[in-house]
Subunit: 358 residues, 2 copies
C-alpha cells in the first residue's frame, strides 16, 4: 500500500490520481494495440488520434477562438523566451516586459538579445512580493510580455492590462486553473508541468497572422510557423507527455471544465489564506491583493519555530512545502489536482502548531 | 492478455518489455516515495539521483572519457541542427557536411544560416542508397558533420573518416547499438527515441573546451554551456523520458553492455539480410557494404505482390514494416530491444511468401 503524501511541490507537481493510473496503463499497452504508448510511431493512427484529441481539448477547455493556432513544443518556457523575440520583435522594433520575478527577468534577458526591450514596471524593489499596477504602456511596443503567475513569490495577475499593444503571456503556472479570455492575447505559452501534465511539453496558443513580420531569418525549429504548419509533428513530439496532458484535460473536462475548477481553486486558496491571516504564528509574504491561488507563500513570524513546523509537516507527509531560497519560509503549491483535503491537512498542522505555542 | 506485436516501427520504437513495466510502475509510485515519477520535483533527492545515474550509465556504457560532458536536452536532433552552427561555426568560418539523407540535408540547411557550409559529398544522386566514401575533407573546416545511420534509406557508416577536422555526429538511430570510440568526436548527439528511450529527450556528448569560440551571441537555451554548467537542470528536464532512458541503459548494462548488444545486433541483421539475398521475391535497397543493422530496407522484385505480403505481415502481427514513402517497399527497424524471435517471424513470413509463389 502506497503511503499517502500531500504533494505541495511547485513543479513538476501533483497530477490527478486517475491520470497517473491511466498513463501507467498506457505505458504497458495503449488502446488494445499490443503496443505501449512510448513505443508507438508518432505517425501511427493511434497516436495521431491522441494529438488530435489534445488539440481539441485545449480548444474546448480554454474556448480558443478559430483564429488561433495551438502547438505542442519542447524546451519549456525557457525556450519560448528566445523564440518570442525572434518571431515577434521586428528588426529595429521595441518590446515591453512587466517584470514580476525571476522567470520574467530571464525572459527580458533573452529579448534584449534581439532589440530594444523596456521594463514597463518591475517589483524587484520589494523582492517581487507584489504585482506593479499603475504603469504606462508605450503604444509603439511590438508586444507587452506578462507572467500571469509567479511561483517563487506567490503572486498572480488578477487582471490583464487593457491596451492596444499586443499581449504575450507566460501562463506556465496558472493556465487552466481559471477562466481566461484567450482573444485578449496574441500569444499564450505554458510549460505543461503544473496544471496540464508532466514535464517535457510546452503549450503555445497563437493568433493567426502574427508571424512572418519580424524581418529576421529564424532557424526552422525556432520558427512558430514550422510547428503550426506541421501540426506539432515537424519532428518527433514528446509523445508520453502529450498523452498525459490529454488525460489531464479529460479529467478537467469531466470535472466540469475550467469554471468549475476555478471555483474549487478559490475555495482551496481561501481556506489556506484565511488560516495564514488568522493564525498568530504565520505571515503571508505576497501583497494581499496579488495573492496567487496556485502558490501560497508564507513565513513564521518567529523564524526560530520553523524547524519545528517543518518537522511536524514531515511527520504528516506534507511534502514539498519549503519556500524557494530567495523568499524563505514556506510555499504550498495547490494546483488543480490538489484535493482540498490536503490543503485542510496543512491548515490542521498550522492550527496544531499554534495551539502548541499558545 | 495483451496480443504479441512484433514492433518494427522506425521510431518511436520498441523498448525492452521490462523497461516499460518498470516505467509504468514508476508512473504510479517511484521508490516508495508515495509519489509518481511524473509529479516529483526535479530538484528532489529522488529525481536528482535519477539524473546522476543516467549520466553515469551513459559514461560507463559508451566509455565516455573524462574530458567529455554529457547533457540531456529537449527538442530532438532537429534543434541540434541549429545549436551546432551557433556554437561551433565561427563568424566567417566554414563547416562541412556529409549528406547521406533527409536528416543530413536538414542539418545542412540550418548550418547555411550561420555561414559557409559545404557538402563534402552527397549520395542524393542515387536516392541516398549508399554512403559516399572517397571524398576529400578541406582542412580549414571548423567541423565535419556526419549522420551515422540513415533510418529512411537503411544505410549506416561502417567507419568514420580519419581527419584532423573535428567530427560532429548525429547518432540518433544507432547510438548504443555498437561500440564507438567517443574520443574520435568533438560532439555526438542523439534523439533518444530509438535505442535509448522514449521521445522527448536528446543526449549530447561534447568534448570540454570546444565551446565559446564562435564569436556569436547565443541565446541562453541554445548555448551548450548553459546545460553543461547546470547539469541539464537549467530548466525543468523531461523527467519521465530521462528516467525511462535510465531504465533502458540499466537493461543494456545487465545484458552485458554495448559489445554484447552489438554481437546480438549483428546476428539479427545477418538473419534478415541473408533472407533478403537468398529469397527470390525480395531485393535489398541499400548498397550491400553500407547496410544498416538498425533499419533494413527492401522491396519486392514484383511490386504487384506487395499488397499480399503486407496482408500476410498484418495477419502475423508484424507491425510497422511499411517503407518510407521516398523509398517504398519495406523497412524493418530492428533496434536493440527487438528480439531475434521477431526477426525470425519476419523471415518466416518472407519464406512462406516465396513458397506460395514458387
Amino acid at each position: 500500500m502506497k503511503k499517502y503524501v500531500h504533494n505541495f511541490s511547485a513543479g513538476p507537481c501533483i497530477l490527478p490520481k486517475e491520470v497517473m493510473q491511466k498513463a501507467a496503463e498506457a505505458v504497458i499497452e495503449y488502446n488494445n494495440s499490443g503496443l505501449s504508448i512510448i513505443e508507438m510511431s508518432h505517425r501511427s493512427k493511434d497516436f495521431v488520434a491522441v494529438m488530435d484529441k489534445s488539440f481539441a481539448l485545449v480548444r474546448e477547455l480554454l474556448n480558443v477562438p478559430d483564429n488561433y493556432d495551438i502547438s505542442f513544443l519542447q524546451g519549456g518556457a525557457s525556450l519560448q523566451f528566445t523564440m518570442l523575440p525572434q518571431n515577434l520583435l521586428p528588426v529595429g522594433g521595441k518590446v515591453g516586459y512587466l517584470n514580476t520575478g525571476v522567470w520574467a527577468s530571464k525572459a527580458v534577458k533573452e529579448a534584449e538579445f534581439y532589440g530594444e526591450t523596456i521594463q514597463v514596471a518591475s517589483s524587484k524593489d520589494k523582492n517581487f512580493s507584489y504585482v506593479p499596477k499603475d504603469y504606462s504602456i508605450p503604444s509603439d511596443l511590438s508586444y507587452l510580455h506578462l507572467t500571469s503567475n509567479n511561483t517563487i513569490y506567490g503572486t498572480q495577475l488578477k487582471s490583464f492590462p487593457e491596451t492596444s499593444v499586443p499581449l504575450v503571456c507566460d501562463m506556465s503556472s496558472d493556465l487552466m486553473s481559471k477562466v481566461i479570455d484567450v482573444s485578449k492575447f496574441d500569444l499564450i505559452y505554458a510549460g505543461a508541468q503544473k496544471n496540464m501534465g508532466p514535464a517535457g511539453v510546452t503549450l503555445v496558443i497563437s493568433k493567426k497572422g502574427i508571424f512572418g513580420k519580424s524581418g529576421r531569418k529564424i532557424p526552422t525549429m525556432l520558427d512558430y510557423t514550422t510547428h503550426i504548419d506541421n501540426e506539432s509533428m515537424f519532428n518527433t513530439p514528446p509523445c508520453f507527455s502529450i498523452y498525459t496532458c490529454m488525460l489531464t484535460m479529460e479529467w478537467l473536462k469531466n470535472l466540469g471544465g475550467i469554471a468549475a475548477m476555478e471555483a474549487i481553486n478559490e475555495k482551496k486558496g481561501k481556506l489556506l489564506y484565511d488560516e495564514i491571516d488568522s493564525n498568530p504564528l504565520f505571515l503571508g509574504t505576497a501583497a494581499k491583493e496579488d495573492r496567487s491561488l496556485m502558490n501560497v507563500t508564507f513565513v513564521m513570524k518567529d523564524p526560530s519555530l520553523e524547524p519545528e513546523f517543518s518537522q511536524m509537516a514531515k511527520e504528516r507527509n506534507l511534502s514539498g512545502i519549503e519556500g524557494h531560497r530567495s523568499v524563505g519560509g514556506y510555499r504550498a503549491s495547490i494546483y488543480n489536482a490538489m484535493p482540498i483535503e490536503s490543503v485542510q491537512a496543512l491548515v490542521d498542522a498550522m492550527r496544531d502548531m499554534a495551539k502548541k505555542h499558545a
